[in-house]
Symmetry: C2
Subunit: 89 residues, 2 copies
């Protein structure tokens, strides 16, 4: 949990692309899956990791699950990275 899961989630290119796609707005699991050649179960695992890291949140709409970005965690990762920058001496 925490920042660890966030960096872990960001380490896979497919998951970063999922986030990229969600930048434009919320999307269903199926709509997201269409952008990849991977099987839906495989994508589902990637969704789960992004969700575990709280980089995305999900809401059910009828039979569809709609994923959307969780900005605050992205900002957190961002500031985590920024804190790695050298201390200007």
């Amino acid at each position: 949990m925490g920042i660890n899961a966030v960096f872990e989630a960001l380490s896979h290119p497919v998951r970063r692309e999922i986030l990229q796609l969600l930048r434009g707005g919320p999307m269903s699991a199926g709509a997201l899956a269409e952008h990849f050649t991977l099987s839906k179960p495989t994508l589902s695992v990637h969704f789960a990791k992004l969700k575990e890291a709280e980089l995305v949140a999900v809401k059910r709409q009828g039979t569809s699950l709609i994923y959307h970005l969780n900005m605050s965690i992205l900002e957190e990762a961002l500031s985590g990275l920024m804190s790695l920058r050298e201390t200007k001496s």
Copy 2:
């Protein structure tokens, strides 16, 4: 190579802590290793991944290898993350 290796390298807590330690300035492999309970060979593998991602660079000084941060790649990762932020609509 590229941004992929960078996020991959950042995904392990030990490697992020190595970067954290290097914020204060260059350090030898041995000096870095003292901050961890892991064996030196294990740390050496972590150094190699950071080096492969070009997050750090290394310079020999006598028998010691001195590691230091490579700012430009960190900035690159930072901007990569920033690009994942939602498009302000």
